[in-house]
């Protein structure tokens, strides 16, 4: 049984120290969360139960309310409704919540060492759960103002992930990072998750997180449009199957393939848009039509496609020719 936590409208209130949240029991329960900036209501009566010890990707378009949701959970935004943090997250322990705002800029005059020392002291007495590998951070004597956007983001992330936080709220943590740093951060997040931390990562797109996310929550119009396993979310995303056309083939035959929502001709390639769950069916149908596997590429997914499907399940826009008709464009 999860330890009860006090609930006060508009404020995050610590619960009792007690049992760790499990994947079966919510670590965070949000009821009727409402947040407006002036007359613009960004989050509207949002209800949500987020499981503990999981990495949850919060996705959604720009202005959907992802950052506002994280800010409310972090307790730094005033809001209507209630947020209940259960288990150790709700315990009044120093450093139990680590929050990375989207537009964070550390004081330019501070050095990397000073920032790390400050957040180490705020993280509480426990030994750091995760330590970034050598070379992740620039030299400690360098000032934040001298660093590139990516280098500064590394410092912010390393500082945020210090200690043993039970709840990590990260708003676009992979922004400005190169591929190597993204991989390191993902590994660090997984290590925190595996140690029992509840992690919420907001991102406009879910691709970078889907490999590690246990759950995806899509926010649209201030409410929850989707909540479920990453694999289910992935299956609903638009994916493109690219087929190299023979010289004599105009690609018109592909319009009739089941599960293809839209067909485009881009140079010498046919782009067949479908849902992720239908990719294997589309590839199978292409095989039935004699298309060799070597002529097929799969690209995507694209987050924007999670919206309502067309009424007839398929949409075609044949022969949308790209201004640059290069075969390299497709796959």
């Amino acid at each position: 049984m999860t330890a009860p936590a006090a609930v006060v409208a508009g404020r995050v209130v610590a619960g009792r120290v007690g049992l760790a949240p499990t994947r079966d029991e919510p670590a965070i329960v949000v009821r009727g969360l409402t947040k407006a900036y002036g007359r613009t209501r960004v989050v509207d009566a949002l209800d949500l139960a987020i499981p503990g010890a999981m990495l949850t990707a919060i996705v959604g378009g720009n202005g959907a309310g992802k950052s506002t949701l994280l800010g409310c959970l972090a307790g730094v935004l005033r809001h209507g409704g209630s947020v209940r943090l259960g288990g150790p997250i709700g315990a009044p322990r120093p450093g139990r919540v680590a929050y990375l705002p989207q537009r964070i800029r550390l004081p330019a005059g501070a050095t990397v060492d000073e920032v790390m020392r400050l957040f180490r002291s705020l993280a509480g007495p426990a030994t750091d759960r995760v330590v970034p590998p050598d070379g992740f951070l620039v030299a400690g004597h360098r000032r934040i103002g001298e660093l590139s956007g990516g280098q500064a983001q590394r410092v912010v992330l390393a500082a945020t992930l210090l200690g043993t936080p039970d709840l990590l709220l990260l708003d676009e943590p992979l922004a400005n990072l190169d591929d190597g740093a993204k991989g390191v951060v993902r590994e660090m997040l997984v290590a925190h998750r595996d140690a029992g931390a509840t992690i919420l990562v907001a991102s406009p797109a879910a691709f970078e997180l889907l490999a590690d996310a246990d759950e995806v929550i899509r926010i649209e119009g201030g409410g929850v449009a989707f909540q479920g396993p990453g694999a289910t979310y992935l299956a609903g995303l638009r994916t493109t199957v690219w087929v190299a056309l023979d010289p004599a083939d105009d690609g018109s035959a592909f319009h009739e393939l089941a599960a293809v929502e839209r067909t485009r001709i881009v140079g010498r390639w046919a782009a067949l848009d479908c849902r992720g769950r239908d990719v294997s069916a589309v590839i199978g149908a292409l095989g039935d039509r004699g298309v060799a596997a070597a002529r097929i590429r799969v690209a995507g997914p694209a987050d924007a496609a999670i919206g309502p499907q067309p009424a007839d399940g398929r949409r075609t826009a044949a022969h949308e020719v790209s201004p640059v008709g290069s075969p390299e464009l497709g796959p």
Binding site: R103, I104, R105, P107, V115, S121, L122, T160
Partner: protein, 271 residues
């Protein structure tokens, strides 16, 4: 709290704003002291002379401006940059955010005062009697308290302002009002409306910089003619020591109340 205070102080003291303020104040006090060396030789530092009055005015204008503006910008900057939110989520209380910001900014303005008066002390050394040292130290002390009050007002402005530009403009306007504007209003209205005792008391309590200036003049045993209507009134009602205590209490109140309001301001807004 200590770690955050050390962090804020370290970054602020290394910053260009502190260096510029220290240099400007040192140059200004150095010039005033050199130009007023004749006056210092005549009346020393223990009495009111043109040079001593100029030194007091400088100490109550420049470091207070520094504290007020940097205090305002620091708090608004914390919120704009997301740094304050990051700290609050980590469990740092609003009172700690406010107090550490105030302490760091106050220390930077105190550094200016120490450096400026240090320059003045070096220049006047040998030209004024050693007996004037307590009065000189008292003026430095009053300047430190005034700078702390101005910093607290700046921190409050920073928690209320929406962005750094607004904070800077509001800080400038407030400093102008406290340093110059309020005196002009009191003098102007007093002459036309013949304001009574209540208005004089209000004038004393409404402006920490005026209170500090009158306190500094009292330390130099200034007479009623130099103290102005507010100082003369206090001297007449409370005597020398009583007036000094009352004035310092006003300045300290102007330090504590804005800080308390700043904490409330953080609790009542986002970020």
């Amino acid at each position: 709290m200590t770690a955050l205070a050390v962090f804020r102080t370290g970054t602020l003291l290394r910053g260009r704003s502190t260096a510029a303020a220290v240099i400007v104040f040192c140059v200004a006090t150095g010039l005033v002291t050199i130009l007023g060396l004749g006056s210092f030789r005549q009346v020393g530092l223990g009495s009111v002379g043109p040079a001593a009055a100029a030194l007091i005015n400088l100490a109550l204008l420049l470091p207070t401006a520094q504290g007020l503006l940097v205090g305002a910008m620091t708090m608004t900057g914390d919120r704009e940059r997301g740094f304050g939110a990051m700290l609050r989520a980590r469990g740092v209380r609003p009172a700690v955010l406010v107090l550490t910001a105030w302490l760091a900014v106050a220390l930077s303005s105190w550094l200016s005062i120490a450096a400026g008066f240090g320059v003045a002390a070096v220049i006047v050394a040998g030209n004024v009697p050693v007996d004037d040292l307590p009065a000189f130290s008292a003026i430095v002390g009053i300047s430190l308290v005034a700078a702390a009050a101005a910093t607290a007002v700046g921190v409050l402005i920073g928690t209320l302002a929406s962005n750094r530009l607004q904070a800077m403009l509001a800080g400038l306007a407030t400093w102008f009002a406290l340093a110059i504007g309020f005196d002009l209003i009191v003098i102007g209205l007093g002459a036309f409306l013949r304001l009574g005792e209540g208005a004089i008391v209000f004038a004393i309590f409404a402006d920490p910089l005026t209170a500090a200036r009158v306190a500094a003049l009292l330390v130099l045993d200034a007479g009623a003619g130099v103290l102005g209507p507010t100082g003369a009134y206090l001297l007449g009602r409370l005597g020398h020591d009583g007036a000094l205590v009352a004035l310092l209490a006003v300045v300290v109140t102007w330090t504590i109340v804005p800080l308390v309001l700043a904490v409330q301001g953080i609790l009542r807004r986002d970020g």
